[in-house]
């Protein structure tokens, strides 16, 4: 295993010296054309971030709406939650993306609605729904970790369901919920690469397009991987900061 790890950088180095296999020139920022290519590749970053952020926000809202019936005393409501979570979790992202992008507009049409779905919103809707099954479970676990006595005490001072959640349960549960929720954001960023197949001009799509014109897949996809790596590392640092803060709050 260790040997294997050594081989990878050696290969990369070897590639730098022999232009037969490696052609770093395509993304060499010191040359005019290389720099143009790099700018082209990185310019997909904004779309990736936008899609991921909006999908994450929607998933956070949707996840809570799915989680709450799962905590109900009424069996029927719990079923609604179980079916949604199990169903959504079972669908692979790519088929869901196709269904939303190509299928959903037809559903809308048959209902007499003219709602076009562009790649941007198609990707966001798919990512948000797919992720919401996971955020719902995070909420459920977080809320269930708050002792039953808290809810009962809130009820006995006259708070209704929404007030109990808003002022008593969620402010306490948020410490358990926020770090895993932020972790889930990493999943969204990585999955947003699928948006490339419906024509969304994000990181992966840009890389694909450049590969077609330059025919240098190894270099371009290597850079692509590093682009995602940097994004994810930044988010991870944010998650760790959040976990430390939440931990400190709990102790204080």
């Amino acid at each position: 295993m260790k040997k294997l790890l050594l081989i990878v950088p050696l290969l990369l180095l070897a590639g730098c010296s022999s232009s037969q296999t490696w052609g770093w020139y395509v993304i060499d920022p010191t040359t005019q054309s290389g720099w143009t290519n790099v700018k082209f590749l990185i310019s997909g970053m904004w779309a990736t971030i936008q899609i991921s952020l909006i999908a994450a926000v929607l998933s956070i809202v949707l996840g809570l709406m799915v989680a709450l019936p799962g905590l109900s005393e009424k069996r029927g409501w719990r079923w609604v939650n179980r079916i949604y979570v199990e169903f959504v979790r079972a669908i692979p992202l790519l088929p869901m993306l196709f269904w939303v992008f190509y299928g959903l507009p037809i559903v809308f049409q048959s209902m007499g609605l003219n709602i076009p779905i562009d790649p941007f919103w198609g990707a966001i809707i798919t990512l948000a729904i797919s992720d919401s099954a996971f955020t719902a479970e995070i909420y459920r676990a977080g809320i269930q970790s708050i002792a039953r006595g808290q809810r009962e005490a809130a009820q006995t001072i006259g708070l209704n369901y929404v007030q109990t959640m808003r002022y008593v349960i969620l402010p306490q549960a948020i410490r358990r919920i926020l770090p895993p929720l932020a972790n889930q954001f990493i999943y969204i960023v990585k999955m947003s690469a699928f948006a490339s197949v419906i024509g969304m001009q994000e990181l992966t799509r840009r890389a694909n397009e450049l590969v077609v014109t330059e025919y240098r897949p190894l270099e371009i996809y290597t850079l692509l991987i590093f682009e995602y790596l940097i994004l994810v590392l930044i988010i991870s640092a944010g998650v760790r900061w959040l976990e430390r803060r939440m931990g400190a709050d709990e102790r204080g």
Partner: protein, 246 residues
């Protein structure tokens, strides 16, 4: 006509197959103090929790101020506004200060202004003898202080009836009396109280009626004088001799 503050008529409850309350009949008149005792697992908590609908009974009727408890959200709202509850584990809100614990209900459920609610809160903190802890978090207080905050929190809702479920059982011995003192004061001021406790000194001092429960039934019921000196049932006699020994 003066209606009973609380009336339980033929109340039955099951947890699955387990018959936890068997034909409970109990009347608490306004101003009365009722003390419930009995061995662990006999259903004392369940009775109290049924009265404020934290648990649903399946048979019989519970009336609070003449209003029968049903599934109707309105009847539950009535209970919540008239009946306060003090728990064994205090159940204070750890993320809020003492003052915020006390003002949350009055502001959100009663629609009081912050200023009115804080005045009320400070008034009741005074009544439970902890006027200077308003800005602390519950965790910074001793157990006895926390339970007194919990009592003040209930009082802020100005209930007509206060329920206590073993309010001193989770406390260190040296803190029990500071909580009981507050409860005695409340009793003397005329509050209607239903108290589950094994503190027989307290019961002797304030109770108008003693209830002994065993295995989901009210086995014995009576004025404390007769109850302590001349219990009718063998089970009650045994129980009393056990807890009065120490």
């Amino acid at each position: 006509m003066s209606e009973a503050a609380i009336e339980l008529a033929g109340v039955n409850k099951w947890f699955g197959d387990f018959h936890v309350l068997k034909d409970i009949n109990l009347t608490v008149n306004a101003g009365e103090k009722v003390v419930i005792c009995g061995p662990s697992g006999s259903g004392k908590s369940t009775v109290v929790r049924c009265i404020n609908q934290l648990e649903k009974h399946q048979k019989g009727a519970i009336r609070v101020d003449g209003v029968e408890l049903t599934d109707d959200p309105k009847s539950v709202a009535t209970i919540r506004s008239e009946v306060g509850m003090v728990f064994q584990q205090f159940n204070l809100f750890p993320h809020l200060t003492v003052l915020e614990n006390l003002t949350l209900g009055p502001i959100k459920a009663r629609g009081l202004s912050r200023k009115e609610a804080e005045e009320k809160a400070r008034h009741y903190l005074d009544r439970v003898h902890i006027p200077d802890q308003a800005d602390k978090r519950p965790i910074q207080l001793s157990g006895g202080q926390q339970q007194r905050v919990a009592i003040a929190r209930s009082l802020c809702m100005e209930p007509r009836v206060l329920l206590f479920d073993e309010p001193t059982s989770a406390l260190d011995p040296e803190m029990i009396s500071e909580v009981l003192d507050v409860m005695v004061e409340l009793a003397q001021e005329g509050m209607t109280m239903v108290v589950v406790t094994h503190e027989m000194g307290f019961a002797r001092k304030v109770a108008d009626k003693m209830i002994f429960m065993d295995a989901g039934e009210i086995v014995e019921e009576g004025h404390p004088e007769h109850f302590f000196t001349n219990p009718q049932s063998e089970r009650c006699r045994k129980f009393l001799s056990q807890i009065l020994q120490h």
